[in-house]
Each structure stands twice: as structure tokens, then as C-alpha cells.
Symmetry: C2
Subunit: 213 residues, 2 copies
Amino acid sequence: MSRGASATKHKAVLDAALGVFLEKGYLGTSMDEIAAKAGVSKQTVYKHFADKERLFAEILLATVDEVERLVRWIVEEFDDVRKVEQTFDRLAQRFLVALMEPRLLRLRRLVIANADRFPQLGRTWYESGFERVLETLAECFKRLNSAGMLHAENALVAANHFVGMLLWIPVNNAMFTGNEKPFTEAELNRLAKASADAFLRAYATVDLKRIRP
Amino acid sequence: MSRGASATKHKAVLDAALGVFLEKGYLGTSMDEIAAKAGVSKQTVYKHFADKERLFAEILLATVDEVERLVRWIVEEFDDVRKVEQTFDRLAQRFLVALMEPRLLRLRRLVIANADRFPQLGRTWYESGFERVLETLAECFKRLNSAGMLHAENALVAANHFVGMLLWIPVNNAMFTGNEKPFTEAELNRLAKASADAFLRAYATVDLKRIRP
């Protein structure tokens, strides 16, 4: 089989597996069902993924690429300190859109559901996604501290405050109610603006406040 | 059977069911197993709970009593506006302790895991727990607005900001890693203080700030 055909099957199995895991949960999912849904043989599934646990892990870790994109974007956005205030508004909007993506919400629910079964996998997802973004944000906040624009003594706590204010309502609503679109885009934009404003009131210095409209 | 013996069995079934649900998930749990673990007959289980779904619902809704206690405490604490600043510190600590209670964390994970199966149940839990506490907090914030101590234009958003800053780190850590004691008491106290301080910087008026140490 050509490398291209193999890659296509690999992706078909991953997509099918995600669907079955989300529908039936980890325990309720069988490799047979994944093979049937992907339209490949069970042998093909096992050729690509040694077992169900490793297949599950690969699905989760595939989201790390998206995290990398978000991290690069954050660093670039904060590069120009003259435009920092608008950056906070854009950052809030971008985070909300990224975190409220229905597929990511479903994955999040799946990881939480299996955190006691696979604590190491949940921890890896948490550290390579969640914490990596927060650490990047904290590094940017430290530079803004040095530039006299923020007074975030503990930059990592400040980063968590930013994200917590922003995401607590919509993410929990989605987690508990199973509703993947609990808010309209206009509502999300209002939530984003309110969080960015509250964050700047809590952490910006007078210098930064002065450039606010 | 006396009413007391019946109540004892009722509680034994609830406790056993919670244990099995947490261990095996909703789908993996059978009424047989619950009966065996509770040391009662299957008939007894069905006498108390018509089916697995209603048993699951009763476990979740039993936590609403704890919410009521928290709500009454919030209202009493904010009753004396002369001590408001200390109230925020105490509120932050009390919330962290209440929400990081291992049993509640495990229930939270169980509800999230089954939110797409029982959206109505998840919604009820969310509304009668989560939202009820936030609405109570928002009512208190409105009184503090009127007393000139806060400037929380949207009191409900401010309540969510308070809770989001406070709980985002520890609750997510517990959710993803399955670790029910991710932080020491001293660490939780520092997180509580940092959130209360950031909240007051974002929302307190000069009047309230003046009474700060």
C-alpha cells in the first residue's frame, strides 16, 4: 500500500474512533466497531494502533498541534506592546472561539470522564494543552510587567485569572448541559469584552489604563 | 419494616450506587451490582428506586442540600457591609473548600461524563447548584453596588468572574488529572487570597479599597 493510502486509512480510523468514543464512552467502544465505522478491517486498525488505549491517546494528543498554533499566535500578538490593550480584547475573543469549538468540548468531556481510568493521559493533555498556553501567557505578562504596563506579581496566577474569568461560564455550561452552542456569537463577544475589561482593571497599571478609550 | 430501617436501606443503596457509578460509569453499572454492594436484595433496590436513571438522578439532586447551606451562608456573610473586605477572603476560602471536596469532584466528573446522555439532569444540576449560588452572589453584589462599595455593572458576570478566577486552576486540575487533592491547604489559601484581591481590584470602588490594609 502506498504511504498516501496508509495515511488516509490512519486518519479514517482516528476519525471513526473519535466518533465511537464520544458516542459510547471509552469502555463501551470496541475495536470492531471502530473498524466497521472506518470501513477498514480490524487488522488494519491494529496495524495502525496497537490497542484501544493507544488509539485513545493518539486522538487526544492530536489536539496538541492546535495548541501550538494558539501559542504562536499569543506570542506574536503581544510582541507589539504599543497595541496591548486591543490585544487583550482579541486574545479573549480568540480563546473563547478556540475553547468553545464543539469537537474540543466533546474531547474535553471525554478526557474528564476517563481521568480516573487514565490519569497519566489526562495529565499529559492538561500539561501539554492547558498549562502550556497558560505558561506562554504568563511569559507575555512578565514582559508587560517589565514594560510597566501590568503589575502581575504572580504572572501565572494572573494568566489563570484571565482564562478563568473568560471561560468559567461558557465551558461549564457546555460541560454540564451537553449543549455545544450554549451562547450566540454576540453573547460570547460580550463575555470576552467583560473579561478583558475586568482583567485590565485588576492588573493593568495606570500607564496601560491611560491608553484605554 | 419500620420507617427507620427503610430509611437506612434507602441510604445504603444510595451510597452503594454512588460508589459503583463512580467506579464503572453510568453504562457499566447494573442494579444487581448496586444491590450486592448495598447488602440488600434487588427487589429492595427497585422498591426504593424505579430504575437506574432515577437512582442516578436522586444521587445528584441530594447535593442540592449542600448548595442551600452555602447560599444561606453567603447571604448572612454579606449582611454586614462594614466587614465586606474580610468577607471576600472568607468567601473565597469557603468556596474553594466546598468545591474541592473529593466527593463533589467525583460527582462533577460523573455528571460531565453523562451530560450528553442525560442533558436534562446535567442542566438541573447546573441550574440548581452552580447557577443558584452565582445568582445569590450576584444579589449580594447588587446590594454592595447600592452601598457604593462595588461597581459591578453586570452583577452576574462579576459573580462568575469571582468564581472563575478562584476555581479555574484547582477544579480543572482535579477534573483532568483525576487527582482529588491537587493542592495543599496552604496553596488553596494562597489561591483564595489572590482571587479575592484581584476581584476587589477589578470591582471595588475607592470606598471599599480605602478600608483595605
